[in-house]
Amino acid sequence: MCTSKDICVIIGASHAGVNTAFNLRKEKWLGKIILIDADPELPYHRPPLSKTYLTANTSTTNLLKPIESYKKDNITLLLGKKVTRLDAVNRCLFLDNETKIDYTKLVLATGAKPIIPTIEGLKETASYFCLRTAADIVAIKESYNASKTKKVVIIGGGYIGLETAASLKKIGAEVVVLERESRILKRVATAVISDFFRDLHTQNGVQILENKEVSKVENTLENGVKVTKVHCTDASYFTAEVLIVGVGVIPNTELAKQAGLKLKNGISVANTGETSNLNIYAVGDCAYHYNLHYKTYVRLESVQNAVDQSKIIAANICGNPLIYNTIPWFWSDQYNVKLQIVGLAENYTDYIVREEQDKENVISVWYFNNDELLAVNAINHTKAYVFGTKFIKESKKIAKEKLADTSIPLSKDIAVVN
């Protein structure tokens, strides 16, 4: 199918792009592989802050692969290079220095970028940070280390904001999280989960404030220290030396748009990863795809999705037809609590909460659409996560009364034998 003259260019070197490159070699791609990213760092796990990077003493990021791996698999890395133009008709692209690169197949692993909310004064505030790249984290670390009061305000109570709050708290910060919605994690989880994490953060000394819409930020002096004053619509305000914005991301679709690809909440792809142009594929955070199990279109921002999609795309590019059909999963580590999520809870009709007897903070939430188990959110409860994964994959019906009865230990017997 492919020859040594073919060139596969991959734009974006995070989980999706890097894994696609290595999977292409596994699938016997004979031609060149060129992996391009605007980030100058050797590709690393993202987002580094939400893991242990901030609390670790090392200055290096957590690399996805050692440099020798790229050499061994003959993958050309073009790091610190931005792709500015894509010409899908002539199958070539241009870097910011106008270098032209031809391709046989192109993979867009362009990811997503942080949303910067329209808040008066925010853009003029020098000391606000987002949470996406290694450079962001280095900047946060430096700013935090230089701060006198160690006061941090985080705008946004989603997973990224909360994981960051936990990491910063560990190194002694005074952290306030401002959430615009009525509860943290509202977009992604039920109130039980929000309540759990609100309590967890409060116990650890992080202030979680909900229904707080930020209206304005301004630079000011407080006791001789330069701080940012964060004003909310209810007239309350908070001061910070480090201001972090984590209110979500939007997919990077500029190049796809230039190429005239079909877009919808990201780059529309078929189950093979192919876009509306047969020589261009999209993978990871930027790819809007159809989930066969849930029969719905989704765009997922997760390592699992990036890694699993990269296998499908590499196989299809090499002429081995495979379709993407997986159950999404996700995790979040905060303090010593592990949250593991499997499935998509959208459109649930009811849910069951299990708080395991005699075990502190071992909780699982099981989401249903009538008889169908959709998703499980497991807090410190890997067993629930594992059972949930198996039940969802096998489309098992659950005996809900058994599941709800915590005097019955969680076991495979809660599934109704078909």
Binding site: H15, K51, P66, E68, V303, Q304, D333, K383, V386, T389
Partner: protein, 102 residues
């Protein structure tokens, strides 16, 4: 300094040494095929599944509850299975042999 040997599914034998980090990090940093460590080492993905040589089980120790539960996701797990992101590199595991799961 601990010297550790990995045997990959293509029967490649790789012996490397380290003083710190996890066995998963050691494997990834040395290109051991089949150990991906997709989650970065927080016991959330089961892509660093290895089998401990039976004679080394005492040296390596046993899996935690979370790890044992995660291993349930691997179809080929057995009594010698470990997720090697959960095994710290120390002198205690000098000369241990890990076989990478398929």
């Amino acid at each position: 300094m601990a010297k550790i040997t990995f045997i990959t599914s293509s029967n490649e034998k790789i012996t490397v040494a380290a003083t710190e980090g996890s066995v998963m990090e050691l494997a990834v940093n040395n290109n051991v095929q089949g150990i991906d460590g997709d989650c970065g080492g927080v016991c959330s993905c089961a892509t660093c599944h290895v089998f401990v040589a039976p004679e080394d089980v005492d040296k390596v120790g046993v899996a935690s509850e979370i790890e044992t539960d995660m291993l349930e996701l691997a179809d080929d797990a057995n009594e010698y299975s470990r997720l090697c992101c959960q095994i710290p590199v120390t002198d205690a595991i000098d000369n241990v042999v890990f076989t990478v799961a398929k």
